[in-house]
């Protein structure tokens, strides 16, 4: 029954299984691996003749029990995880019923689907190549099954050639086949959210600043904003509950609307500056943007607080095209917003309250009072640090009059608190500030340690940005965290490549890698219809829609022809000589009448047979019969006699004439 299943098949199946499941190791529940060990143990038992193959009933029971158990365990992780586990379960249980080739076929197809699942989680270049290796391994399994007579070395060589020859068509399809919009909504993978979160404690952003992970990259159509203008707004926090800043219910509602496609309409003013973001997966919907930006033909929607929300969580490296209108003022405020942005807990932080009351009693414009608050951060002995001492329950008091050492959230939080005490609408904004510009690659890299918090105050009929951190540590805003806090920067990560960049060679290497990674994200991961259009324009000039279709068809046909030529190699076919072609014509003429020339029948014998058997018209018969004999003589002479070129040509002409005369 299992004669087809040889040792190397089993080894290849195990190799496929383990490489694929270990690639998804982080996503798969450990129960699967326990099950896998059981199944493989059983399979090996069958292979060595120690155990009997399980019956159909046992198989079904195992499948149902396994599915029930897994669903119980992973259902809380969401639909995506549940579906993935079902596929992996089927993949694992196949070990129990490898009784026919069909089972291995199913195993191969399931494995290929799992490679696709792997791509949902991993999109870096190396991982993309690894996924290809996994896919080819599964094809190798098919090869070993259906080309078993070839040696393994030749199988590998043949498969390699097969895949290489298939590449051009695959590339063509990838480059030119128009991308369809998503047809229906599929469950998204459930991953831990990264980057900025919806609530902010004073220590949160400092925590984030320890990470050198990529947050996003940006490229600009025109000029790059100056370092101190690179304020990437992510969200506004308008609710303070004594220990943390969070979003009020009205903002949460607005986010909900934006995620379902609602767009806050405002009239944009001034010059438009287009830019592109390549967002790293955060598994959240926020989109960092420069004030004031709107999405362009994508699913990033503007909200009333002038931030953007994507309709689906950013689950993979996503490119978004945005437009910034720097001259547009953030005018919008309504009654709820005005009330919410001046709301504070009724009690607590008495020292600050007293100081604010004193400030309020002074004469002078609001602007002057704000300046006075900001001046306080420069004037007194405030320090900027990633490791501020812990604060007591009276956070603002403790900070302003006690520790006086903090990170951006401390400063922005205290500032907003004082503004609200003064009755001025104010909110905290979290996002990223700065980023590293790579002039060669033409993109700005923003990492998690660029995370920042600042304040916005409603003044003179519009929301205005105030960044208290800029008063404590101006170099943070001008040059970034690394220069602002050289001793604390990535202190937990002494081997970080970023810290080794003082070595010019390593720096070059780092930049080259970053550029390659950026190109990968832009041209491969986010290659879409617009990029397609750009590419066609670059290669073939201006092409309209129908032109594009024709182009696609043309290139498609060209590729198929290339593959045909490659495989069939018509130039290697044996060429017939002229005399052979003439002979074939003769044979064709008499096929119906006398039948074909038989095997082993010489041309002379054949012609003699024709002379006897063929029907000739009575008046020409004698002539034709004579010609037949001459034909055979000429043919033999051309084939076997040593002729000079001149003679050869003459004989050929004669042969042609004779054929006409038969």
């Amino acid at each position: 029954m299992e004669t087809f299943l040889k040792r190397h098949h089993l080894l290849l199946i195990l190799l496929c299984y383990f490489t694929t499941t270990f690639s998804l190791f982080a996503q798969i529940h450990w129960l699967i691996f326990v099950l896998a060990l059981l199944c493989i143990g059983w399979r090996l038992g069958i292979y060595f003749g120690r155990l009997a193959a399980p019956s159909v009933m046992v198989n079904r029971l195992a499948a149902i029990l396994g599915a029930a158990l897994l669903m119980g365990v992973v259902f809380s992780q969401g639909l995506f995880s549940a579906m993935m586990h079902l596929i992996v379960l089927g993949y694992t249980l196949k070990f129990l019923e490898l009784s026919a080739r069909r089972d291995i076929n199913v195993f191969i197809c399931t494995g290929l689907v799992l490679v696709a699942v792997f791509y949902v989680f991993e999109t870096s270049i190396l991982m993309a190549l690894w996924g290809m290796v996994l896919a080819v391994l599964h094809l190798a399994l098919a090869m070993s099954l259906y080309s078993a007579h070839l040696s393994q070395h030749r199988q590998a060589k043949y498969l390699g050639r097969l895949v290489l020859v298939s590449l051009p068509l695959a590339l063509l399809l990838f480059l030119l086949l128009p991308r369809l919009p998503p047809m229906w909504k599929l469950p998204l993978q459930n991953q831990a959210k990264t980057g900025l979160s919806d609530t902010v404690n004073p220590g949160d952003i400092a925590e984030l600043s320890r990470s050198s992970e990529l947050a996003f990259r940006a490229s600009f159509a025109a000029e790059v904003p100056a370092p101190n203008e690179r304020y990437w707004r992510v969200m506004t926090l308008d609710q303070y509950q004594g220990n943390q800043w969070s979003q009020s219910q009205s903002i949460k509602n607005a986010i909900d609307v934006a995620q379902r496609g609602g767009h806050f309409n405002i009239e944009m003013q001034g010059v438009m500056q287009a830019y592109e973001l390549i967002l790293e997966p955060s598994y959240q919907t926020w989109v960092p943007s420069l004030a004031v930006s709107q999405g362009r033909a994508n699913r990033a929607n503007l909200m009333a607080n002038y931030t953007l929300r994507n309709e689906i969580p950013i689950g993979q490296r996503t490119m978004l095209r945005l437009q910034q209108f720097a001259d547009t003022k953030m005018h919008y405020i309504d009654l709820t917003m005005a009330r919410q942005n001046t709301l504070l807990p009724n009690t607590g932080n008495e020292q600050t309250r007293a100081w604010a009351a004193q400030l309020a009693a002074q004469s002078g414009s609001t602007q002057q009072k704000i300046n006075q608050v900001l001046q306080r951060f420069t004037g007194e002995r405030f320090s900027y640090t990633l490791k501020p001492p812990p604060l007591g329950p009276q956070q603002i008091d403790d900070f302003l009059f006690g520790t006086q050492a903090g990170f951006c959230v401390h400063y922005a939080g205290s500032f907003v608190y004082i503004m609200r005490l003064l009755g001025i609408p104010a909110r905290m904004v979290t996002g990223y500030q700065g980023g590293e510009w790579d002039p060669e690659g033409g993109f700005l890299t923003v990492r998690q340690y660029d995370a920042h918090a600042w304040a916005e105050v409603y003044l003179d009929g519009r929301w205005q940005r105030f960044d208290p951190t800029a008063f404590v540590a101006p170099e943070r805003v001008e040059q970034g965290l690394e220069l602002a806090l050289p001793n604390e920067f990535l202190a937990d990560d002494p081997l970080s490549l970023l810290k080794l960049r003082s070595n010019p060679m390593l720096n070059q290497l780092y930049l080259a890698m970053a550029q390659f990674d950026y190109l990968w994200a832009v041209w491969v991961l986010n290659y879409d219809n617009q990029k397609q259009f750009e590419l066609i324009k670059r290669w073939f000039g201006e092409v309209d829609f129908f032109g594009q279709i024709w182009l696609f068809i043309g290139l498609f046909v060209a590729t198929i022809v290339f593959m045909l030529l490659w495989h069939l190699k018509p130039w290697q076919r044996v060429r017939l000589s002229v005399e052979d072609k003439l002979l074939l014509r003769l044979q064709k003429r008499f096929k119906a009448n006398v039948g074909e020339r038989q095997q082993g029948e010489t041309v002379t014998d054949y012609c003699l047979r024709l002379r006897e058997e063929a029907d000739f018209s009575p008046q020409l018969a004698a002539q034709q019969r004579a010609n037949l004999l001459k034909f055979a003589q000429c043919y033999n002479a051309l084939k076997y006699a040593p002729l000079r070129e001149q003679q050869r040509q003459e004989t050929l002409d004669q042969l042609r004439q004779l054929l006409r005369g038969i």
Binding site: Y158, L159, L173, L180, V524
Partner: protein, 325 residues
């Protein structure tokens, strides 16, 4: 069922027109068929699933994987066809066999590229033995049921190379026609060396019929039955000799249809076959008399074959080997 038969008969006729019977056939685009296997269909469905996944997750890597796998599918289509085309099949005459025995049909295959693995089966015959493939020699087996001329029908040659996604096949008619002798049925009839009624009581001496007497040794000649070799003498190193027998009574045995006890013609022929074999074993002189055909008494392998052939084809007209070169 009716429509199925109608279709299969239509297909048969179509095949006869497009892939006529030949003892030497080179497979090419005109006589090859190609269709995806179930695995091929499943694989294609997988490609499409990946395409949907890639589109819905807007994941270019999944899309590329889907495109690559589809391209491999197309490549396999070309390669599997290329692998089969150019395969030359040359049939050899099958050895005659007795009815209800397994008959061997030899084919010689020749291929320039020699990459793929080929499978052979007889389309119309139930499977009795796995075909034997040894280098260029292939032997397929079929069970011959009735005496006479046995046509095993079309030979299906197929390949799943390289990935099992496509099945490329051809139903070739190699014009095979095997001669099937009747199945021997033993009789307890006492063999008679009687030449018939005409000869009266001249040859009524039954007891001696079929018995030979050892006459002496003579020099062995190539082609003589191995049964007659004097092994003892050979083992003693005295060279090849054969034992010569002489019938005690020179009268030949006549085998006739009428003397058989069988109920019908086929049984009678079977009984005659058994007797021919028996007499040949005994090296007896025997003749065969069938209505319209007399084989004069003789002995030896060629005589045996002539008798068996006569029995096999009795009452049948030899079919012309239409279209066979």
């Amino acid at each position: 069922m009716q429509t199925h038969q109608w279709f299969s008969s239509r297909f048969e006729r179509w095949l006869q027109r497009h892939v006529p019977a030949r003892s030497h056939i080179v497979l090419n685009r005109k006589n090859l068929f190609i269709l995806p296997t179930w695995f091929g269909v499943t694989y294609l469905v997988t490609c499409f699933t990946l395409f949907l996944l890639g589109t819905n997750y807007q994941n270019n890597l999944i899309l590329f994987l889907s495109f690559l796998l589809s391209s491999v599918f197309v490549s396999c289509l070309l390669l599997s066809h290329k692998n089969m085309s150019g395969l030359a099949l040359e049939a050899a005459e099958p050895e005659p066999q007795f009815a209800e025995q397994v008959m061997a049909f030899p084919v010689k295959i020749q291929h320039s590229a020699e990459q793929g693995q080929f499978y052979f089966s007889l389309q119309k015959q139930p499977h009795v033995l796995d075909p034997v493939i040894k280098g260029q020699q292939v032997v397929v087996y079929a069970k011959a049921c009735h005496r006479g001329y046995f046509k095993p029908g079309r030979l299906t040659v197929y390949s799943l190379f390289p990935l099992g996604l496509f099945r490329v096949w051809s139903h070739v008619d190699l014009g095979w026609q095997g001669l099937v002798y009747p199945k021997p049925i033993e009789t307890n009839l006492v063999l008679d060396s009687d030449a018939g009624d005409q000869q009266g009581d001249l040859g009524r001496s039954r007891a001696k019929a079929g018995f030979d007497e050892f006459a002496g040794l003579k020099t062995y000649q190539v082609g003589e039955s191995l049964k007659s070799v004097a092994w003892k003498q050979l083992a003693q190193g005295r060279g090849w000799h054969s034992k010569a027998f002489e019938q005690a009574q020179g009268a030949p045995v006549w085998l006739t249809l009428n003397e058989q006890t069988g109920r019908d013609l086929e049984t009678k022929l079977s009984q005659l076959t058994s007797q021919v074999l028996q007499l040949d074993e005994q090296n007896a002189l025997y003749g065969l008399r069938l209505s319209g055909q007399n084989i004069t008494p003789a002995q030896g392998p060629s005589h045996k074959l002539a008798c068996l052939t006569a029995l096999a084809t009795y009452g049948l007209t030899a079919p012309t080997k239409a279209g066979v070169n």
